[in-house]
Symmetry: C2
Subunit: 186 residues, 2 copies
């Protein structure tokens, strides 16, 4: 009974497993079950767990096209677009980004997967640089600026996820951006 299998469904499940259990903790058997697919099928389609995860991450990063980091001249709008995309794309209360940059980095099998995320960050940095040279943002290493913008959001999600019992409210994005711009103009 060759079922029609949609890669996207499998990728969704894979990402969820990744967020919930990490790379080592995401079992192919559980992914298969959750996706309603046999484990064998996973291996036949993707070859290995690492390749499956790589494909799933690429899929998840799909919404982040270069276009999203374009310069429009409106700093607040550009930042808001990116941040909201970022926030929405993770949806769940955890983040792929810290996971990629701290956990995934350790697995040589996933080396190739990192190019995408790095290029995103780099594109973001370029946008920042442009606003800096325009005088709309204080001069500093662009990735420091990116960190200042994303860091608080990431930590917030991290803490919220770490102990759901401690009620830490989510960060208000609009307010955060306004405050960021205010604190980073020169």
């Amino acid at each position: 009974m060759p079922k029609v299998i949609h890669d996207e469904d499998i990728f969704e499940v894979t990402i969820n497993a990744l967020l919930a259990h990490g790379f080592a903790g995401a079992k192919t058997k559980e992914i298969a079950e959750a996706a309603g697919v046999s484990e064998v099928t996973l291996y036949r389609k993707y070859g290995s767990k690492a390749q499956l995860v790589a494909a799933a991450i690429n899929y998840q990063l799909r919404p982040f096209e270069e276009n999203n980091f374009r310069y429009t001249g409106d700093l607040a709008a550009d930042l808001k677009r990116i941040i909201e995309l970022y926030d929405r794309s993770t949806g769940r209360d955890i983040d792929l980004f810290p996971q990629i940059f701290s956990e995934m980095v350790r697995y040589p099998e996933l080396k190739g997967t990192l190019a995408g995320p790095f290029s995103l960050i780099s594109n973001f940095g370029k946008l920042i640089t442009r606003y800096q040279s325009e005088g709309k943002l204080r001069e500093q290493h662009p990735l420091h600026t990116v960190g200042a913008l994303l860091g608080p959001l990431i930590i917030n999600k991290m803490l919220r996820n770490a102990d759901p019992d401690i009620p830490i409210p989510p960060i208000d994005l609009e307010a955060h951006i306004d405050q960021f711009i205010d604190g980073h103009k020169r």
Copy 2:
């Protein structure tokens, strides 16, 4: 030949292994070798890998006494003391904190270990709250404020560690604190 074994040496090695490979990736065999101790000894002394890690984390958090989060009335000085302690205590270019709050959280065996870190964060929050009520910091959820202070530092370390080839300079702590205070006064 009962060698004299210092727990601290083993804990150091364990923390390093943890930072380098994560909990799942830190092999007891490798920890034993790196510490110059037999694997059997580890199990005899600490019972299990989880208990060893728990002990090592507690050891690593030792410098953070409640006293470090005391209120002196000098906001800049208090923040600086904490941040520098934080920065120095990790020493290496990675951070235990994000690791604890994102990876360790997943291992039920380590549940008990989380109380310490959470209480640190909480103490920090209380200090923030006090400065807020004094009017020296803008009112917002104290853990948001903590995130705004630590987030950029953590992201910086994370990126620097993720790809040592991309030269991202470390953040200047003094400047960061000044800028933080400036951006968070009301």
